[in-house]
Amino acid sequence: MKPQTLTQSMSWLHTWSGLVFGWLLFAIFLTGTLAVFDKEIDTWMRPEVPAHQVSQVEAAQRALAYLEAHHAGASAWNIGLPTERSPGLSVSAGEQRRGGGVQLDPRSGERLDVRETAGGGFFFRFHFTLDLPRDIGIWVVGLAAMVMLVLLISGIIIHKKIFKEFFTFRPAKGQRSWLDAHNAAGVLVLPFHLMIAYTGLVIFYLIYMPAAVDAMFDGNREAAFGRGGHGGGEQHQRQGGRGDQVAVASAELTDLAPVLAEATRVLGPISGLSIQNPGRANARIEARPVLGNRIELTKGMSMQFDGVTGRVLRMPNEGRPAQLTQKVMAGLHFAQFGGYPMRWLYFICGLVSSGMIATGLVLFTVKRRRRPDAEGATAAWLYRVAEPVNVAVVAGLTLACVGMFWANRLLPVDLAQRGGWEVRVFFAIWALSLGHACLRPTLAAWREQLGLAALLCLALPLASFLTLEEPWAEPGRCLLELTALACGLLLVWTIRKVRPRGEEAATGRPSRKLAEVN
């Protein structure tokens, strides 16, 4: 990098960090966009859970009956209640709070055989860990989010005349159009980009930047949050759970209806209950709210009742203003507030962001097709690699995501570790797409992979129709497939844009030669 003007140095930074991190960022943004509807994807991927009109109270009572019959001696019971976003009722016994539970039919209270699936949770976890070991993933994604912030600010510096450029869209002009599209998408939802990159960092803020905890509290995070903070509550609970099972007299559990009503009055809609020491005099009922009754992220918030008298023992903690600020920022990122209109807004903004990153990546290679060796030998090598990797990351990942939906319908229902196989199919498709992109000419690879992704999106209802008896009994599943249809049409429109024409036809030929060299 030579000493240059500010715009030139910012431009250099934007281009190179954009290329190196653009691949990572696209994967994070696309899976994050899908994770907006993680619960709905879960519902679609568990087609055995029936649609129903059962109230939470009735469902809770059926869950209790099941637990009393099958896990009478357990130290704790957990009930996941049906909510607006997911019709399922799940129960588990013992200390585990989630996962591994049994699904019940909310109408009859009987055990349901639900297919094992990675579910929408896979996209959510991939979004912030990239399926790496959790701590490593969080750091890699955090670094990418930091680079995103840098990219956005450098982009603003490069395009000082941002609004003038925004209104100069020149379609069907090859490279110019890619640049215009990249800029338009960048400017159009700039507040969203800035917000989502920054709030993404705020979620794990003390992991990324422990300086203030180190300086003020010698690195002790529990001390930093005082006694009522994160650590205290859990410890208290564990003590309650260990309480000698034999010494305590048995007692009838209180009626859940008034408990649920009071919890709903204070916390809003309830997602689940845990009952410590059920059937004993020291029983405790803990009610957890559905995430997103407010913007503030209410993760870990709960309310405790006496399990015998039904009296409220502990109200939810109200955070201090500074802590509330952090939680509101994290909540902004999680997009659990505002119901479905807000969720759609985040979904669409996420798609635009993914499009901005994809056009940026394409722009990088389109620009250099004419003179790939202008910036030295290393750079020329990178350009050659960049073309197929672009295809595999943008088109291939899209294909892998749709492919996972298909895997959910096509894999045998009783396959052992089925969820793991769905994930394997996802990564296998992604790896194959890279191989395909290396073997085929660039433009053909783009069109073929995007075409296959479009086809799989458009034909997704067919997958349900062929494998299920009542594919659309639950309206949410039908809506998901309609969304897939819309995404398929969007992909078809994109393919129509990816073809040699005018200026692009001229630059398209050398690129094909380049691909053959590989």
Binding site: K2, L149, Y198, V202, L206, A211
Partner: protein, 91 residues
């Protein structure tokens, strides 16, 4: 030679920028007139913007000398942030 210069700038931006931000956050948390728990949160929330600006600074600087000069401000900031620990000495 040009590659080495670029590499040194990238390293300075990523690691030098992080060290600067670390020191800045510690100093800010100590100086903010708030309860320690609140100051910790506010300073840490500000840190990501500071890190982004530090990275941009490392690339915007005309000369490497000026770049390192800016990042070297981390030393006095760290002194402010960790003053009580330094006074106490090694435990």
């Amino acid at each position: 030679m040009k590659g080495a210069m670029t590499l040194s700038r990238v390293l300075a931006a990523v690691f030098g920028g992080y060290l600067f931000t670390y020191a800045f956050t510690a100093a800010l948390a100590r100086l903010l007139p708030m309860a320690p728990g609140d100051a910790m949160i506010v300073a840490t929330l500000a840190s990501f913007l500071i890190y982004a600006l530090a990275i941009l600074w490392a690339f915007a600087c005309k000369s490497l000398w000026r770049m390192w000069g800016g990042l070297a401000l981390a030393l006095p900031l760290a002194l402010v942030g960790f003053w009580p620990q330094l006074m106490r000495g090694p435990a």
